[in-house]
């Protein structure tokens, strides 16, 4: 007969406000098998855990049910406490009476009945729980970092500096990401490239970092400590080992009028190109869509002029498999596009701003390229339409952001600051010019951030006007800005020479597809989800995968770098052990009943089911049965639900346990 102990937590008042915890404790105390039941203010607190441990020993409890918050929150905590008291941790279950009960119901009577039933259900379940041994697996002490922007670079450098090998994968021909595109950075106005490029070079030279640029993640298999990652290296058409980076091919390429994406399509590049002069690696890539050789078969100038003979038109995409123990996802962000969007898209565009129709209405990133010393105008702020210096410039914040109607309800976090920076750069570069900013709120939390914004207004002459702009239209060579100053309560009209729109931050295109390959979760915008918004902000719910930077949500550079280092620290913690303990939630085959149909093998996504021969003492084959490799099994239980003879059992989720729960209700 089991001696079950039930502990009902008040969670301060979070539970006890709507659930009569004393009544629940009293009622479940009468259930058969329950030897002890009580309620306590904070079970997760130190005294709460002590109470739990003491009671297990004093009452000689065989099983424990803690009725408190979600097991996703504290199951580990209580299982650890139970283990410390000498019980197998898997003899402890949690009943979720907070998230699933007290927080979602107001009626005390209803909530109390529901809580009692939930606890009763877990009592029946725990009776069927079995002692499970911990399973250890080896850890591959190499890490994969996906994305070569500042987040990926920082994480890769930190992990590599700790002495572990890093595989860094970047989709573009060069690492650097968006930060390499920026001119200056807030709130210090130091030049982005000046602080970025040394780090890029460090990555290139680091003996522990294996860099794959122009490459993408094809497939991720395995689990924490033991991932197998297949990387697709796209055909660069230039041999990285022999290319010296002399650049002759680029100067000779006859295709010179291809809009350079790195310069927001303002500047032009050749068909064989590096995206920007400081690119790492300094190896060009042939843009096959625009290359004359690939389009018509004629040309091949680059190949002819290449001294080392590095140009290789025959090169093909290749697949490489890298075994790693941990993965840092740092895929960054993409910018919202302002124009009208195709029908059916969850995100809508702005017709009223004429972006794409009025040449001098540009987005913030384009302004960055104009302001950048290495940009297409050499750092001069010039109008795309006629190359003239804009004497009146208008910035509009919150384009896409905080616009539920457009499909994005969040704040992009960095636009207030970069717009303030833009006004300063403009003020420094265009003498006698006037910058105006239309804004709803100035959101400047961060070290020295508000001071920076105030400086833009108080010392750098920016005129901030609270109120959104209704629309823009061309009038001669001016752009009429129709806004309002809500502090005055009247309409405002400005005839601007240039308008800069501060566009929202969105996840990279295809972020959802990568998440599906990795098996991590993401929100409705495709930002990746952390395991806990406050206490586990760097980890994914999927063990062994960590997040860094704006792929998780809008972030500025310092925050991104902090998170990247935090992710690196998490990886190092994982790598500090040779063996990894994992939850013993794995499937087992009852060989006696197994008929060897291998339906389980067909449905197993992990290839964990093997065939095992059963022989008698004489070595005669009796039958072939299924065998689940516990090191490979991920514990989904699909095999069990599939097995026609009910001979596979997932430890921790056995039929017995489930049926006991159903019957309890």
């Amino acid at each position: 007969m089991s001696r079950i102990g039930v502990f009902i937590c008040h969670c301060g008042e979070n539970i006890s406000r709507t659930v009569d915890v004393e009544r629940v404790a009293r009622d479940v105390g009468r259930l058969p098998g329950v030897a002890f039941s009580t309620d306590y203010k904070y079970m997760c607190s130190d005294p709460g855990q002590t109470l739990l441990k003491k009671t297990i020993q004093e009452q000689k409890l065989s099983h424990v049910v803690v009725a408190a918050c979600s097991p996703r929150m504290h199951e580990k905590t209580f299982r650890k406490a139970v283990e410390a008291a000498g019980l197998n941790p898997f003899l402890c279950e949690m009943a979720n009476i907070r998230e699933h009960c007290s927080w979602v119901h107001e009626n005390i009577e209803e909530a109390t009945i529901k809580a009692t039933e939930i606890v009763g259900m877990m009592v029946e379940r725990v009776k069927k729980n079995r002692v499970l041994p911990t399973i250890t697996v080896p850890v591959t002490k190499r890490s994969l970092v996906i994305g070569g922007g500042i987040a990926g670079i920082q994480a890769a450098l930190d992990i590599a500096d700790a002495g572990h090998e890093v595989v860094l994968v970047e989709r573009e021909p060069s690492i650097g990401g968006h930060m390499a595109q920026l001119s200056e950075t807030f709130p210090t106005l130091d030049c982005s490239q000046c602080i970025m490029t040394p780090k890029m070079v460090d990555v290139a030279n680091h003996p522990k970092i294996k860099l794959y640029t122009y490459s993408e993640i094809e497939l991720v298999e395995g689990y924490i400590g033991n991932f197998q990652v297949t990387i697709k290296k796209k055909a660069r058409s230039v041999n990285e080992d022999t290319c010296t980076g002399c650049g002759v091919c680029m100067t000779k390429c006859p295709q010179k009028k291809i809009p350079n994406k790195f310069d927001q399509n303002i500047g032009m590049r050749t068909a064989i190109y590096i995206p920007f002069p400081q690119a790492v690696p300094n190896t060009p890539v042939i843009d096959r869509e625009n290359c004359t050789k690939f389009k018509t078969g004629k040309c091949g100038v680059c190949q002819k002029v290449c001294g080392p003979g590095a140009v290789d038109f025959e090169q093909e995409d290749s697949l490489i498999v890298e075994p790693v123990g941990a993965i840092v996802v740092a895929t960054g962000f993409d910018l919202y596009t302002i124009d009208e969007k195709p029908k059916g898209s969850p995100i809508k565009g702005y017709g009223e701003f004429g972006h794409g129709k009025i040449a001098d209405v540009i987005d913030g990133m384009t302004f960055e390229r104009l302001a950048s010393a290495s940009g297409p105008t050499g750092g001069k702020i010039l109008r795309p339409s006629d190359g003239k210096e804009p004497k009146q410039i208008v910035f509009i914040q919150c384009i896409g952001s905080r616009a539920r109607e457009k499909g994005i309800s969040y704040c992009s976090k960095v636009c207030c600051m970069y717009t303030a920076k833009h006004t300063m750069l403009y003020h420094h570069k265009v003498h006698g010019g006037q910058a105006y900013v239309f804004f709803m709120d100035a959101r400047t939390p961060g070290k020295s951030y508000d001071e920076f914004w105030r400086r833009a207004i108080e010392e750098e002459d920016a005129v901030y006007i609270r109120g959104m702009v209704s629309r823009l239209y061309q009038k001669g060579d001016k752009i009429v800005v129709m806004g309002s100053d809500i502090a005055v309560g009247v309409q405002v009209e400005i005839e601007a020479d240039m308008v800069v729109l501060a566009t929202a931050i969105q996840p990279q295109k295809g972020a959802d597809l990568l998440a599906q390959k990795l098996g991590i979760s993401y929100d409705k915008y495709n930002f990746y989800s952390e395991a806990h918004a406050k206490l586990r902000p760097v980890e994914c719910a999927t063990a062994g995968i960590y997040l860094a930077g704006a792929c998780q949500g809008p972030k500025d550079i310092p925050e991104t770098v902090s998170q990247a280092s935090a992710a690196a620290a998490k990886v190092m913690t994982l790598f500090s052990k040779d063996q990894l303990e994992r939850e013993p939630i794995v499937a087992r085959v009852r060989e006696a009943g197994c008929v060897g149909c291998f339906a389980c093998k067909k449905v197993c996504a992990y290839g964990a089911v093997e065939e095992k021969e059963i022989r008698d003492r004489q070595g005669n084959l009796i039958k072939v049965v299924a065998y689940v490799n516990p090191g490979v099994c991920a514990g989904c239980g699909t095999c069990q639900a599939t097995c026609p003879s009910k001979c596979v059992e997932l430890d921790g989720y056995t039929d017995e346990q489930v049926i006991a729960m159903i019957e309890a209700l």
């Binding site: 979602v104 449905v603 989904c636 056995t654 039929d655 017995e656």
Partner: protein
């Protein structure tokens, strides 16, 4: 809302079989967001919808459930790569079987609720509760006392004997 609810003469019993990664987390989110929904639902957590055996649904109906909800990750988002696809196929067939047996399929609902969709969880649970409430109690299965056949436990002498004979 509650006053209105208490006027009902019939409170249905709803079982929800959910996966731990998406829908359970979504229901947690509904809690942390303090959303409100009817208290009729009882949640059973599984690692994956792929683990959910149709037998559990039959068992639930037999045990007095008036409605059953099965919910997991959106297609493509399965934490275990493809468990929800297996579940989807399995339940597509199972629904046919139930229909054949004569169970009103309105009592059984499948949905995808992700970890970020607290609001959707509330919506799904509320809608199902209201729907089943209007349908009235489920009586068909309660009369069938065929427990041992459905149970995974080998708890009758006959079964034990048969088991040992293998």
């Amino acid at each position: 809302m509650h006053l209105a609810q208490q006027q009902h003469t019939f409170e249905p019993k709803i079982f929800a079989f959910v996966c731990t990664w998406c829908t359970y987390a979504g229901a947690d989110l509904a809690g942390t967001s303090r959303m409100q929904y009817p208290s009729n639902v009882r949640v059973l957590k599984f690692p994956c919808t792929g683990r959910i055996d149709p037998v559990f649904i039959l068992k639930a109906f037999q045990q007095g459930a008036d409605g059953v909800l099965v919910s997991g990750c959106h297609p493509g988002d399965c934490h275990y790569i493809a468990g929800n696809f297996h579940a989807r196929r399995r339940f597509a067939v199972f629904r046919k079987l139930l229909e054949f047996v004569g169970v009103d399929l309105n009592r059984l609902q499948f949905s995808w609720v992700s970890a970020a969709e607290g609001g959707k969880w509330v919506e799904v649970v509320t809608d199902l509760t209201e729907k089943v409430r209007n349908m009235g109690p489920m009586t068909e299965f309660k009369e069938l006392a065929m427990e041992e056949q459905w149970s995974g436990a080998i708890n009758t002498p006959e079964l034990k004997e048969a088991y040992n004979a293998i």
